[in-house]
């Protein structure tokens, strides 16, 4: 199975260890993983700011880089959702459509395609799960608290396989952290307040780590935690799932 590794631009630049963890994890699970070198960004920061019409270049580049793979896997719900919903190119619409169908967020790829039931991972810590809205409500990685529908959660399904991991239950299970792309600077006051409130919910449950499938949310929460000099750390779910049994 040939997997194209789609690494969000900010992960490439700031959090290379998440890319490494994702790649190692996928290889451990038997995938042939390639990282197309000319990838940059999915175009979401522009599109969400109202500049979707300027994302043509990003789209072409994405198709150049990712056509031909059996699957495209990304350790970000938000970037995956953007490609799923907005990747188009007039001249290569068929290719764009194939890519839209083949792109997966990491946890759903593990649960739905690889059907992972037994992860050899170990993380002896108390952890809170931050559901990114794009992953949860957009990609439906977990049931949403607003709906009257049966519970499921792909990230939780995986975290439960991690030995010694103590997953806490939050009082607001799927409240937005307030990152929101450029929202985090254009609506700074609200963004920060939302982040502080999210952090507090985790702190109230005495977590050591906040994890999640979207490093953008975690980067925002980390920024707040560090400013508050909190001992709580953030860690991407790929790093937990890839943690070795020692």
């Amino acid at each position: 199975m040939r997997v194209g590794l789609f690494i969000p631009c900010y992960v490439d630049q700031f959090y290379p260890q998440i890319g490494v963890a994702t790649l190692e994890l996928l290889e451990k699970l038997g995938c042939e993983v390639h990282f197309p070198l000319n990838q940059t960004c999915c175009g979401q920061p522009m599109a969400n700011s109202g500049f979707e019409h300027l994302t043509g270049g990003c789209n072409s580049l994405f198709i150049d880089n990712f056509e031909g793979f059996d699957y495209i896997v990304c350790p970000s719900g938000s970037c995956t959702l953007h490609i799923k919903e907005h990747l188009h190119e007039e001249k290569r619409e068929e290719k764009a459509s194939t890519i839209r169908k083949r792109v997966y967020e990491l946890t759903e790829f593990l649960t739905d395609v690889l059907k992972v039931e037994n992860l050899e991972a170990n993380f002896p810590h108390r952890v809170g799960l931050h559901q990114s809205c794009h992953g949860q409500r957009g990609l439906k990685l977990a049931q949403m608290s607003e709906l009257n529908a049966p519970f499921f959660s792909k990230p939780e399904q995986l975290l439960k396989q991690v030995k010694q991991l103590d997953l806490v239950s939050l009082s607001r299970k799927d409240e937005c952290c307030g990152f929101g792309g450029t929202f985090c600077v254009t609506e700074e006051a609200i963004s920060v307040r939302m982040g502080q409130d999210r952090v507090k919910d985790h702190e109230d449950k005495n977590v050591e780590f906040i994890t999640g499938g979207d490093m953008s949310c975690l980067m925002h929460l980390e920024g707040i935690l560090r400013r508050q000099q909190s001992p709580v750390k953030v860690i991407h779910i790929a790093e937990i799932l890839n943690s070795q049994i020692k």
């Binding site: 599109a47 019409h53 607003e146 939302m194």
Partner: protein
């Protein structure tokens, strides 16, 4: 003439200065959202109910012309006067015309967001007509000379101390008494006298039934009924999208409305007005005010399905922390942000950006309006039409250029440096709002790409 309106982000900044109060506001509305969840989760067919309601409303949009004609015909046959208003001004003139014809100068009014949208109270007051709002929340904000901050809970931004002070000044209640029971009792006495003495009552409309020509008004307080049943003239004002095809469809919408709004199984009173009381005069004013334009916008017409339950506001993490007034529109919150640009795109260009696009609004919406998708789509329209003030500042052009050019992206310099220079939320200078309350991640020794080239690329 029009006072300077603060952009949503600026108004939110002001609102967020009082941290404790923001926390209180958030918790209060979250409490309402939680009640809504409990009610929704107690109804096994809830999701089917939502999709049914959405389909009914879709049918209404697709057959609006005929339903309106049918409604008018039936209402006329019921002995009701029917008026049509193309815009807010015409609506206000029609209402004033009815009042003037009866030679009165005082009116009671129950909640009608449409009249807020049309600024009816201002218009009538300029024309010498005194209007008393009778919904408790609306009366509170009216006495304070403020607009409602929420379509269902107009005074949700106020604490009981604020209400106590307002009532002390205007209704002569004891100074310092902030007991909700005591204050509500004071309002009951004050407004009872009003109900008993006013000759004209205006109400909103929750649903208008094409099949029968009747309209339904829902309240918990009973103020619409007290006003209408004691007045000689009842004026009911409605946006044309309030129509539903048949009486039996009320079963669907009345099950959804109160549960979505406050978590109640139904409002205390769901009153069906079909004919005027003997000796009474009844008027219906059907208003367009931009709705027919919205109907033409394929991406946005679903916003006309809205039944004004306010669930999207209660669940919105931004609304809960910015307050209704920050939306500078009669209807605040997520739904207001997709309705307002249709009314005035320049003035409301900031509103579709006042969201993280988290999508919770679309999930609670009882008629399944794709609210957060419409927010995204409005952003595209607003930028294309050239109204994007905030987005322009972000230097999207430079960013797009680099992100479309791998060579430039890769040679951008040391890891993280290109980002620090170009991506709006990480631009590394003292002016970047990111740093006011957050740290930036530390750039690592190597990027993932560099790691990959060193370790993996064969």
């Amino acid at each position: 003439m029009e006072s300077k309106v603060l952009e949503h982000s600026k108004a939110s900044e002001v609102f967020n200065k009082d941290k404790e109060r923001v926390g209180w506001h958030d918790e209060t509305l979250w409490f309402v959202r939680s009640k809504r969840d409990k009610a929704a989760h107690n109804i096994p067919d809830w999701e089917l109910l939502r999709s049914t309601a959405s389909s009914i409303k879709h049918n209404v949009l697709s057959n609006m012309h005929d339903y309106l004609v049918e409604f008018e015909k039936n209402a006329l046959a019921n002995g009701v006067h029917v008026h049509w208003a193309a815009d807010a001004e015409e609506h206000n003139k029609i209402v004033h015309g009815i009042i003037a014809k009866h030679g009165v100068t005082r009116m009671v009014k129950s909640k009608s967001m449409l009249t807020e949208e049309c600024h009816l109270n201002d218009y009538l007051s300029k024309n010498g007509v005194e209007v008393i709002d009778t919904d408790l929340g609306e009366r509170i904000v009216q006495l304070r000379d403020e607009p409602p901050s929420h379509i269902v809970l107009p005074a949700i931004h106020l604490k009981k101390e604020d209400v106590g002070e307002t009532f002390h000044i205007h209704l002569g209640t004891e100074k310092g008494n902030k007991d909700p029971q005591y204050l509500t009792e004071a309002a009951r006495h004050h407004l009872r006298e009003t109900f008993l003495t006013r000759k004209i009552a205006l109400t909103g409309v929750n649903f208008a039934v094409a099949q029968t020509g009747e309209f339904v008004v829902c309240t918990n307080e009973g103020n619409a009924d007290m006003g209408a049943h004691l007045a000689d003239v009842h004026i009911a004002c409605m946006g044309f999208e309030k129509l539903i095809p048949r009486r039996e469809h009320l079963g669907v919408f009345l099950r959804l409305l109160a549960r979505s709004a406050t978590g109640q199984p139904i409002t205390t009173y769901s009153s069906h007005f079909k004919k005027p009381r003997e000796g009474q005069e009844m008027h219906i004013v059907i208003v367009d005010n931009g709705r027919s334009t919205q109907l033409a916008r394929e991406d946005f017409r679903n916003s006309l399905k809205c039944i004004r339950c306010g669930a999207c506001m209660n669940t919105c993490p931004v609304y809960r922390r910015s307050g209704g007034h920050s939306y500078h529109n009669a209807v605040a919150g997520p739904i207001g942000s997709i309705l307002a640009p249709n009314l005035d795109m320049r003035k409301n260009a900031d509103l579709p950006f006042a969201s993280t696009l988290c999508g919770s609004c679309s999930n609670v919406c009882p008629v399944k309006i794709d609210i957060h998708d419409q927010l995204y789509k409005w952003r595209q329209v607003i930028v294309k039409e050239g109204y994007a003030t905030t987005s322009k500042k972000l230097g999207m052009g430079a960013m797009t250029f680099t992100l479309s050019n791998p060579a430039i992206y890769q040679t951008g310099g040391k890891v993280g440096r290109w980002f620090m220079r170009n991506v709006p939320f990480v631009v590394n200078n003292g002016l970047n709002p990111w740093f006011k309350n957050r740290e930036m991640p530390e750039p690592p020794k190597e990027s993932f790409r560099e790691w990959y080239l060193n370790n993996k690329k064969s």
